[in-house]
Symmetry: C2
Subunit: 368 residues, 2 copies
């Protein structure tokens, strides 16, 4: 019998991937890998009847419980959850917006540290995923591969010798592997180099999207970059190519930041410090304002202008300033002004530990 976890178990904890800043953590918020898998002898999710969907969940649970990596996973069952709680999981990056919309039997298994999970009955029977802070594509790939291997001991995954792993959508056929990074590119946005770069990235077979995946806007200069092709390349090739391109992108971004700082140092410092002031002092704060201020402050940390706030705190703020997080942290449903007031409280609560305002100046940049 599946035990349902409560969102409340997650509200007061910090996702494991936020705890460290990781390699190039000021530019790369997180690296993720996910594998699409389907069980043999059962139709794809969109053609499966309810009793079979429940059977799939039970099969996956058995496999998850028997695995070495996810034996203590929490299970969140979508039909049992409120819209707010589902949104919380989306903001936590544990489920896709698509899963949050589902009315049918589906859900997600999540490791207690929230660094690994298995969505069940989203587009595919299983979407196995792993996440880490910073640029660690090789590591998240190894982690997701390990879980895949562990689950395959008790599950039969649909596989064709011609096509590889079979998936509901042809774009995932083959390895079923998608690796992605969440990357912060304020320098390239400010220098207006972002559009040609996005075009270039698209041409080499990657996709650029906003924070929440397909069709979402790039808020706060945050972009999600992932591989488009899953077929005709080995997993190692996908990971290596992605890693190489992302490292180039990081170099481009760093050069753009230095150029912006060189061109107008006071204007950059002004933007960074005013944003810090907004986070520290606002009493009413929209999600939009928050993500933009966080972007400017992150730029400041990245350029060595601000030294009193660390990347894990910024990552945490990106997560907890989202709408459902503000509401869950405050303990009640909030809209409009009330939510904006609560958001400002949440931010100040996280920033107040260091009370003395930092007064680093441009020419003190000891660690650019």
């Amino acid at each position: 019998m599946t035990m349902f976890a409560s969102i409340q178990d997650l509200v007061q904890t910090t996702p494991g991937w936020i705890a460290s800043d990781g390699t190039a953590g000021e530019v790369i918020l997180s690296s993720r890998a996910r594998l699409a898998r389907n069980l043999t002898a059962l139709p794809f999710v969109h053609r499966t009847k309810k009793s079979d969907l429940v059977r799939i969940i039970n099969k996956v649970e058995t496999a998850v419980r028997a695995s070495a990596t996810l034996p203590h996973a929490l299970f969140f069952s979508m039909p049992e959850m409120s819209a707010l709680d589902r949104q919380f999981l989306v903001e936590r990056r544990l489920i896709s917006p698509a899963l949050a919309e589902e009315r049918k039997e589906c859900g997600v298994f999540v490791s207690p540290a929230e660094t690994a999970g298995v969505m069940v009955n989203e587009e595919d029977h299983l979407r196995i995923q792993t996440i880490q802070a910073g640029l660690h594509l090789e590591a998240v790939w190894r982690a997701v591969d390990r879980i895949d291997t562990e689950l395959s001991h008790s599950l039969d995954f649909a596989f064709s010798n011609d096509f590889g792993y079979l998936t509901a959508c042809p774009t995932n056929v083959g390895t079923g592997l998608r690796v992605s990074v969440l990357i912060h590119l304020p320098g390239l946005v400010l220098t207006k180099n972002i559009e040609p770069l996005v075009r270039g990235i698209t041409q080499v077979g990657l996709t650029v999207r906003g924070l929440y995946g397909e069709g979402t806007e790039a808020l706060g200069n945050l972009f999600q970059i992932s591989n488009q092709r899953t077929l005709g390349r080995s997993e190692e090739e996908i990971v290596t190519t992605m890693d190489r391109i992302v490292r180039q992108l990081i170099q481009h971004e760093r050069r753009a930041c230095e150029a912006v700082l060189h061109e107008a140092p006071s204007q950059v410092e002004d933007r960074v410090w005013r944003a810090y002031g907004v986070l520290q002092y606002a009493r009413v704060l929209t999600a939009h304002d928050a993500v933009n201020a966080l972007s400017s402050v992150r730029l400041g940390v990245s350029l060595g202008i601000i030294a009193t706030i660390d990347i894990p705190t910024l990552n945490r703020l990106v997560v907890v300033t989202q709408s459902a997080h503000v509401q869950k942290l405050t303990g009640r449903a909030l809209e409009g002004d009330a939510q904006e007031i609560a958001r400002a409280d949440v931010v100040r609560g996280l920033l107040t530990p260091s009370r003395t305002p930092p007064v680093r100046r441009a020419n003190d940049r000891s660690n650019p």
Copy 2:
């Protein structure tokens, strides 16, 4: 022989009227009184030839040096001064914008504490003026009356038994007394009660203007209120009436502030604290931004939202964030971005005295 003072004598000092906050100091920045006087046997300024203008200055100087109140007054001679230094005196509220524009022989005697002064050859031969922080109309009237009496021992003031003191402009005939307050009315502006109130004030014979007198815009919710009529009423009547009306206005303003706070407490706090954040963190700051931020912070002090900044500091900031002050404090002529950067430095220097180095930078000449 008249000794010319240097603006540099004032740059690093704080005007005496700022040093204390005075009665109702959070609403009333300052109370001022001035008397218009002209010497007998000499035509009014606009019809006096240069040699006579010099004679007037010399006569006034003799009287000033012989007075009990102003024996050590500094003299600033307009023809000897740069446009920047004149502007500095306007911002310091020691001379009128009209005097700063003059090309002819004219100037101002200023007490070392800057609480009393005598403009010479502005519209009238003498404009004797006194200033204090807060609401102290009776006190500034007594002070200006004392100086008038002292000067009249050595000067013959033009006086008619029918009209009283004779002045170049008929609006000053009679007592020649103008009393004024610089008042901060954010509550009445926010509640949109300011226009009817200004109309009402005008109907009872007072004039409402912006910070720098006639024709200037009300920046940062700061208004200058003065009596229009100088004839047909005793000095005591003018002062008493003005004091009564200003006290009513303070009550109106306080009620408006309480209403605003009651209606949208978080929005008011947000405005106040964000403004504080701007002052504390901006690296580029326009004069307009500064005066608006100072207005919001003052509102916060007035409402008890902010307790970490005092009224004298706010008054000082209103003075030193003005264009000529920023330049004199920085030690060089600055425009555009450079001035806005220097302004932000000046503000941070005053807000974090212990941590930020003085407004002057290492590469500045110490004595421009």
